[in-house]
Symmetry: C2
């Protein structure tokens, strides 16, 4: 690598709100998105909520000249909605579907049917290895009573782990997507602390867009004003995150977001705002990997957030086990009822009613069985994440045994007491 090596990366991210039959003016918005991407000629455009594969195919055709490489991440029943258009050839592709992603019986929320995932694309740019990740986590339907919190925290951990383990030889890591988490939310902190990713909005000196970097704002007429009631100014849930490892440094020269309307005014491209970042990567052989330079005090935020996530997952596990136990009881009652109905038929008492009730009762037992199995698997999935967090905390404890940082000892001591 030449000492004066530098690379400019222009990146676009948008949650496209592309649900067929539901999202307003979808085909018009997709058309305008294609025109805009062609005109701006970014290095990389990472999109979420492109639920229709046909929309992807149309975009791919339209963008084939400016972005010769494209990939659609297939997953679940509806699809992950993730896709990427790139000016540069894609060297490698892999995706990871999140183990936990809501509940199949919450049909009106639909997340379970999507198979939410994280997609990774590896690029080789002038000898530099870039790992670009795109993701979309479970939506938050109520901030006051968020029944999906444990799932989103688990997804954030799976995402962080996936990045951590697949980016060990990358020079630059880029993550774009709709995390469905506010910047200070538990999952967001967990992700940043475990991966060491930096938030473009917080890092850049040149930001153009809404205050606080909001990416869902009431000014956007596609946004449901009711959903934004608790946050009258808007929320920030879409991100451009990045890091460079040893030997390179990366900075965000500028970050721009649309402001409730299209990029050149007019109708918005989506109910989310688009993010456009210009990143600059430079060769810097003396730059150390920050994860190796953390002292005990530097590990404090990580330990604190790991502990918080561990506790939150514990609540999720208790909830999942409660539902599994409830479904188990329903199965028991249903089976008893079936025996009773058999008895009534055999005794020729209320025979018609018994025969009539037989099938719904079988349905009840089968339905409760499915609920039991689902929540058993949910509890196991959450336990798995909790065990992984516990392992990291255990490693930190071992490191702490060698250090004498009192605050660290206190935090880890608390965690040890809870295990």
């Amino acid at each position: 690598m030449k000492p004066n090596f530098s690379l400019r990366l222009r990146v676009f991210n948008l949650n496209c709100w592309g649900l067929p039959y539901v999202s307003k003016h979808r085909s018009d918005r997709m058309k305008r998105l294609g025109d805009f991407l062609n005109m701006e000629s970014f290095d990389l455009a990472l999109l979420e909520e492109v639920w229709s594969e046909q929309d992807f195919q149309c975009l791919k055709e339209k963008l084939s000249f400016t972005y010769p490489a494209a990939h659609y991440f297939r997953s679940g029943i509806i699809g992950s909605g993730l896709c990427v258009f790139s000016k540069h050839p894609i060297q490698e592709i892999i995706q990871h579907v999140y183990t936990l992603n809501g509940y199949p019986y919450m049909i009106h929320h639909g997340d379970w049917f999507c198979g939410k995932a994280v997609g990774l694309l590896v690029f080789h740019l002038s000898g530099l290895v870039l790992n670009a990740y795109v993701t979309h986590l479970h939506a938050e339907y109520s901030r006051q009573k968020d029944i999906y919190l444990a799932h989103r925290v688990a997804q954030a951990w799976e995402l962080a782990q996936f990045i951590h383990h697949t980016s060990k030889k990358a020079d630059v890591v880029l993550l774009c997507g709709d995390l469905n988490m506010h910047p200070k939310d538990l999952g967001c902190c967990l992700l940043r602390e475990w991966t060491g990713l930096h938030d473009a909005y917080l890092e850049t000196q040149d930001f153009k867009g809404f205050e606080e970097g909001y990416t869902m704002v009431p000014e956007n007429h596609y946004v449901s004003q009711k959903d934004l009631e608790p946050f009258p100014c808007g929320i920030r849930i879409d991100y451009v995150l990045y890091k460079a490892v040893s030997g390179f440094c990366i900075s965000c020269k500028s970050l721009k977001s649309t402001a409730g309307h299209g990029p050149y005014n007019g109708t918005p491209l989506s109910d989310h705002e688009a993010l456009m970042a210009t990143l600059c990567v430079r060769y810097s052989p003396l730059q150390q990997n920050p994860s190796f330079t953390y002292g005990p005090a530097g590990r404090l935020p990580l330990i604190s957030v790991l502990r918080e996530a561990w506790t939150e997952l514990g609540l999720g596990i208790a909830q999942a086990r409660w539902w599994a136990a409830f479904a188990g009881n329903v199965i028991g009652v249903g089976l008893l009822l079936l025996v009773l109905l058999c008895f009534l038929v055999a005794e020729e008492r209320a025979r018609e009613v018994a025969i009539l009730l037989w099938t719904p009762n079988v349905g009840l037992v089968l339905g409760a069985g499915a609920v039991y199995l689902f929540h058993t698997q949910e509890a196991r999935g959450l336990c798995r994440v909790q065990t992984e967090l516990q392992h990291v905390l255990g490693r930190e404890r071992e490191a702490q045994d060698l250090s004498s940082e009192p605050q660290l000892a206190l935090l880890l001591g608390q965690e040890r007491g809870q295990n």
Copy 2:
């Protein structure tokens, strides 16, 4: 790293056949397995089919002195059955659950309920990074009519991709497990070709065990003789695979398998044979990573196996789509019947029969709906794997455009024609 650095690794692998209430003499076998592991003091013991977490906890307690580190990979409804005991501290843990893993309605086969997975443990041994993977793929219930072939090929690809992307900074990669594939099976070849892993049985000069390295043999009295009918001598489906990357070389000094009975004669430990490998890792700075030294001819087996897998997945997709379409038709017929029943009730004709048939018919529609959704998701999952294979073939085609290897051009030309 010192020039004369060398490391000896003693590894144990066993599919433990630990299904509560089903597997014979389970607790006795687990007890003897614990005694044996304690006595032999391997560096690493990787186990499959430890379905009961209680069995893992008992083993963990028993082995805590010899193997201070242990991990159980939780997954699915029953569990992945995978666990690891190690003499050395585990630095990092991650697992990946396979997207496709059989069918929920094949309850008697049960694989779907396990959430089959691959687990990764990262070790730091005297400055060397060892990535140890343990896995168990979908079982093969009939070799003549293997309805799970596409799923197993997809799992083999996911496994290969997971290893490929998570081991980029590892010095040594080790994979142990029950792959449920014979050595020349498509999935096995795909895995070896894409990861560059070597088969300990084929590499070692010192093998003690059954001819052809069989790991399920009729001599083992726990083995169902009916299952082994097509292979009267036995089959090899359990493996120790390994590779070292640039700067290191690895060899298998010896490989030993049990021979239809316990390690010191007597009752076998399982219906599978145990594998015990002694690996030797040496520092070898001049050793090149074989993946970088492949010429066009060296890529031929990879391309050939990628194409074969691509075709096999195509058959799986067609099958999945057929089932989804069939379920769709059943839903249509069921809905029509519901309308007819409503009509009969409204017209007061055969009212009792109509009411009686209402609920089973609703059940039929719901059941067919579930089958439709499942096979839609299956087709999407298989398409995803096929797209990833196609991407690799595309990259190979680009490389081939720069080369003039006629055999390679022929193979890639065939694939191009089929896309």
